[in-house]
């Protein structure tokens, strides 16, 4: 793995920390400290992924991202100290592939980098499959024949029950299932206080497929109603 990652932030220490982390993971890292510098480096060097802060001098992250998007289609992960939903939506709608709020866990960032790079480099392979045989939802892909869930193109090791739950949720993305229904359809038994049982399994699934299990993006609890697979 010698993918090249460009890290852009006006805080040199953060850039250095991210660089160290990513280099440990085996990436080649380029550093830039403002938007203009990032554009210059991009013009000179082949880069596979960009991690970019929003608030920077000279050229801010969002503007730089729009400039980059005019020419390139590489994944961009936006870093921001703003955590409000509206900021997140703005970043994503302006072309970011992922949004990581500061302060982040270095492990989570690394996981997201890995995920984005895999998806970016393996796009062709995923697309080769027949649409009828697999259900694709964002990073996730469930192959019906294999009864296997893939995350970023890699098979996820799920137990039989977990696989059943995921099959149910992947087949009905966006629909909210009460715990009782999940229990009855997966365990094929009458439910009695299934909340705990279902929740345990959901938590386990999250740990296997979510980049940050504490802030899940795919398997979500709809509080007071049930559970659902977020449609991406």
């Amino acid at each position: 793995m010698d993918a090249c990652v460009l890290v852009v932030d006006d805080d040199r220490e953060i850039v250095r920390a991210i660089a160290l982390l990513l280099e440990k993971e085996g990436y080649r890292v380029l550093k830039a400290y403002d938007g203009m510098e990032a554009l210059r480096i991009l013009a000179e060097t082949e880069v596979q992924l960009i991690i970019m802060d929003v608030m920077m001098p000279k050229l801010d992250g969002l503007s730089a991202m729009m400039k980059i998007r005019e020419q390139k289609n590489l994944p961009i992960i936006v870093l921001s100290a703003k955590t409000e939903d509206t900021d997140k939506i703005l970043g994503l709608s302006m072309g970011a592939d992922d949004y990581v709020a500061k302060p982040f866990h270095p492990q989570e960032l690394a996981a997201r980098v890995k995920s984005q790079l895999r998806r970016y480099t393996m796009l062709g392979g995923i697309h080769a499959q027949n649409a009828e045989e697999e259900i694709v939802n964002g990073r996730l892909c469930y192959r019906l024949k294999e009864r296997t869930l893939y995350a970023d193109g890699e098979p996820v090791r799920l137990t039989a029950t977990e696989t059943k739950i995921m099959e149910l949720l992947m087949k009905n993305r966006g629909r909210i299932f009460p715990a009782e229904e999940i229990y009855e359809r997966v365990w094929e038994d009458v439910s009695f206080s299934p909340e705990n049982t279902v929740m345990v399994h959901i938590r386990h699934i999250r740990e296997k497929i979510e980049l940050n299990p504490k802030e899940p993006e795919y398997v979500k609890v709809v509080w007071g109603i049930g559970y659902k697979m977020e449609k991406k």
Partner: protein, 854 residues
């Protein structure tokens, strides 16, 4: 400036139009009368009183009277000796002759003749009645004097055979030509008065003997022989331009010379209604033998003067006479009236022509009038119109009826009373009424044409106030209702009483009209003609009496209008009170932008202004508060952002350190602590950020229907690991049936997560935490009870920010848990309360149960 000019132009145009039209309409009838008068030759050329019918009547009457005087004297001398009742015999003879004669004179004419003589005597009599001025303002004395005169008059009329009951029939039965003076004394008195009138000179000759004359040089010759000399020779022809001879040629005919010209007295020689002179000598109007030796001479002055009849030394009373003088004044007045009518007509035509040129700009003014009429409510119109119609009809029926009579009968307009001046004033009055009628019709038509369908609400809707929603408005209108009804009854009563009174007076005065008022009217003319100015006392009274109805109805109208205005004001007040109450309600509801605008003259203007001020003040305060809240949030946002950036480095480098392999164990422990504290700091920053948003109401909330029981179970399941790791045990009582509430699930999860975390964190080791969900009074109530690990101090609000059970702040919490829980609960429409009882710590979260089951 431009609109002002336009406005005044429009007003001017309409005023021109209105004035012109009023002048034209009101002068049409008098003008027609004048034209008839001049066209039929009743009036000729100049203001010559001798050309008037009244003068001719007077001459005819005077002639017959003097003939009667001559006959009296003759009868006296001829038949006195045989002792028969000569007077009645003389009358009988004349009567027989007239009746036996084959004449075209109809009975009616004879009656009229008779009436005329009585009337003339009456007029003469009242001419000589004193003016009130003569009594120097002593009204009682004058009243007494008038009563005496009235009594005398009645007596005189009775002598003429006139009685109010039988009318002139009695008179006709007794006498029809000449006069019966009853006795020599009254004859002498009459002749003595007559002699003083130098305006009308006379000489009465009987059997060639001069009986009476008031001419200079002849008055003393009474009883002497008349040698046939011409009396007119000795007279100044300029001063006395009218002379009349009767029977001078012994032919029983009258010869008149005026201004040196002989008049054609008899026309075609047959007497008819239209004959100018009613004197004997026509083929069908002759008198017999008893008068064949009577010769009479009359001469009238060109410019008659007022003369003194008698002076009563005791009472200082001066009696004046001057019938011809009055006739001349009337004539002058008549001509000036004709002149005025002509001037009015010409002016009217000029004004109308001007109005025609400016008719474009008149429209605006007409619209204003229409707008004004529109403002008058329907009831007032419906009430006023019939009242005006009845009143106007009553007032104008006489004068206008007279005109109609005159046109229909095709006889000269003066035929009613035979007096031009009186008739002209009647016609002028009729013209005035016509103008009033015209404008009434104009306004009604205008109102109907312009305001149809746009009529203002009828008054009674103002009284009903059905649309009002507040009781105070209804009360206000109801109060006005009572006042209105009372005022209406009062007005009607007043009008009725007045009408009754006026009608009574009208009848009474009509009864006296031929006597009193007739002469008052004359006096008014006289005063006007002399430029002396009037009214004299009684004339003024009469005028006031005539004007009284207009005063009273103006007063009533004003009263009605004032009542109406106050009613409308009251209604508007009620409407405004409604608006004000609405506004107060709106302000109470928190609407601060809509201003209450009442009209400038509204009674509640000040109150409205004050409300607006309060509103403005509140709005400013709220804006200020929102601004300061926003600043707070901004501050927190910025601070948290500024903390987050270095925190990122701390966490990152702590992680890097953690990944270092060859570090001593104790260093690894340090790094562990570093990581944990950095993590806690992250939590605190996030909490502070969220709570500042929640308390300033800027937290986005997505309300949805959810099952609170399920939410609690989910939260417990979510936190199951931590619960089982702790030494505490959970006791839950959550119903299986759904408890539906409206809330933001994500926020509510955070609420219970915080509450459970709190319970886990601060409970006494090994104790139990109780969670229950119940329905109480339509609310879903979740209670979490736990036993506190540390002693709780009383009176502490645990939901305040940074308040904790113990003040040491070493337990790993941010102190914001409960505060966030409370803010979020309230943001979702629920309530959160904390109770402590010794060490028992109870948190109650309540939400209204939503009707719809999920």
């Amino acid at each position: 400036m431009d609109t002002k000019w336009k406005k005044s132009k429009s007003v001017f145009s309409f005023m021109t139009f209105a004035t012109g039209l009023t002048m034209l309409v009101s002068n049409l009838i008098p003008a027609a009368g004048m034209v008839t008068a001049f066209g039929t030759g009743i009036l000729e050329g100049q203001p010559d009183y001798q050309e008037s019918e009244e003068f001719r009547q007077l001459i005819g009457g005077r002639l017959s009277m003097l003939m009667g005087v001559a006959a009296w004297e003759k009868n006296d001398s001829e038949y006195e000796s045989d002792g028969t009742d000569v007077k009645s015999r003389a009358g009988q003879e004349q009567n027989d002759r007239l009746l036996n004669e084959p004449v075209t004179v109809q009975e009616e004419t004879v009656v009229e003749q008779a009436a005329d003589y009585a009337g003339e005597a009456a007029a003469d009599f009242w001419d000589n009645v004193e003016e009130p001025e003569a009594f120097g303002g002593d009204w009682d004395a004058y009243q007494q004097y008038l009563e005496e005169q009235q009594a005398y008059y009645d007596e005189m009329m009775a002598e003429y055979g006139y009685a109010s009951e039988g009318g002139y029939a009695d008179y006709y039965g007794g006498y029809c030509y000449g006069y019966d003076f009853g006795d020599q004394e009254s004859l002498d008195r009459y002749m003595a008065d007559l002699a003083k009138d130098k305006n009308l000179l006379y000489a009465v000759i009987c059997q060639n003997q001069l009986l009476y004359s008031n001419m200079e040089g002849f008055g003393e010759k009474a009883g002497q022989e008349w040698s046939g000399e011409d009396f007119s020779q000795g007279l100044d022809a300029d001063a006395y331009n009218f002379t009349l001879w009767y029977n001078r040629e012994n032919d029983g005919k009258v010869a008149i010379v005026k201004d040196g010209w002989e008049e054609n007295v008899y026309g075609n020689g047959v007497y008819s209604d239209n004959s100018r002179w009613r004197v004997p000598g026509y083929a069908n109007f002759t008198i017999g033998d008893s008068y064949e030796d009577v010769v009479i001479f009359l001469a009238a002055a060109k410019n008659p003067q007022l003369y003194m009849v008698r002076e009563n030394g005791n009472s200082n009373i001066v009696e004046y006479g001057g019938r011809l003088y009055r006739m001349r004044l009337k004539m002058i007045y008549l001509y000036s009236a004709a002149e005025r009518t002509a001037i009015f007509l010409v002016t009217a035509l000029i004004l109308l022509a001007t109005a025609l040129l400016m008719r474009g700009s008149r429209k605006q003014a007409v619209e204003w009038i229409a707008a004004f009429l529109r403002k008058i409510c329907l009831e007032i119109k419906l009430f006023l119109l019939p009242v005006l119609l009845v009143f106007l009809t009553a007032m104008s029926a006489g004068p206008l009826g007279h005109v109609v009579w005159w046109i229909r009968r095709g006889v000269p307009f003066y035929s009613w009373s035979g007096d031009y001046l009186y008739e002209i004033t009647r016609l002028t009055r009729a013209g005035g009424y016509l103008a009033v009628w015209f404008w009434l019709v104009y306004l009604v038509v205008l109102d109907f044409r312009m305001n149809r369908g746009r009529q203002k609400k009828p008054l009674f809707t103002l009284l009903k106030g059905k649309d009002f929603k507040y009781p105070i408005q209804k009360r206000l209108v109801k109060r006005q209702q009572r006042t209105m009804i009372a005022e209406l009854i009062l007005s009607i009563l007043f009008a009725a009483v007045f009408c009754a009174m006026w009608l009574f007076m009208e009848n009474y005065t009509t009864y006296l009209a031929d006597g009193y008022n007739y002469s008052y009217v004359y006096d008014a003319y006289e005063g006007a003609a002399q430029g002396l100015g009037y009214p004299s006392g009684l004339t003024g009274f009469y005028m006031a009496y005539l004007l009284m109805p207009s005063f009273v109805f103006t007063a009533l109208f004003t009263f009605t209008m004032i009542t109406f205005c106050s009613l409308r004001k009251n209604y508007r007040l009620a409407v405004d009170i409604g608006a004000l109450t609405d506004q107060i309600l709106a302000v109470r509801e928190g609407s601060l932008t809509e201003e209450l605008v009442l009209s400038e003259d509204s009674d509640l203007r000040e109150a409205a202004d004050n409300i607006n001020q309060i509103q403005k003040g509140m709005e400013t305060a709220v804006t200020e508060r929102i601004k300061s809240e926003r600043m707070k949030v901004d501050l927190v946002t910025n601070v948290s952002h500024d903390i987050k950036t270095p925190l990122t480095s701390i966490i990152s480098y702590a992680e890097l350190l953690r990944q270092e392999k060859e570090l001593p164990q104790h260093v690894k422990e340090y790094i562990q602590i570093l990581g944990e504290k950095a993590e806690r700091l992250r939590g605190i920053v996030q909490d502070v950020f969220e709570i500042s948003k929640a308390t300033s109401g800027q937290l986005p909330i997505q309300m949805e229907m959810l099952d609170m029981g399920k939410l609690l179970r989910q939260t417990l399941a979510d936190m199951n690991d931590r619960i089982s790791q702790s030494s505490l045990s959970m006791r839950t009582a959550i119903p299986e049936t759904p408890v539906a509430v409206m809330a933001d699930g994500q926020r509510l999860y955070r609420v219970f997560q915080n509450l459970f975390q709190n319970a886990l964190r601060y409970s006494l080791e090994g104790s139990r935490v109780y969670l229950s969900l119940t329905e109480e009074d339509g609310r879903a109530v979740a209670r979490i009870k736990n036993t506190s690990g540390v002693e709780l101090s009383d009176g502490k609000d645990f939901t305040e920010r940074f308040v904790r059970g113990d003040a040491s702040r070493t337990d790993g919490g941010s102190g914001l848990g409960l505060s966030i829980a409370k803010s979020f609960t309230e943001a979702c429409g629920g309530s959160l309360t904390v109770e402590t009882d010794a060490d028992l710590f109870t948190v109650t979260v309540a939400f209204p149960i939503s009707g719809q089951e999920s």
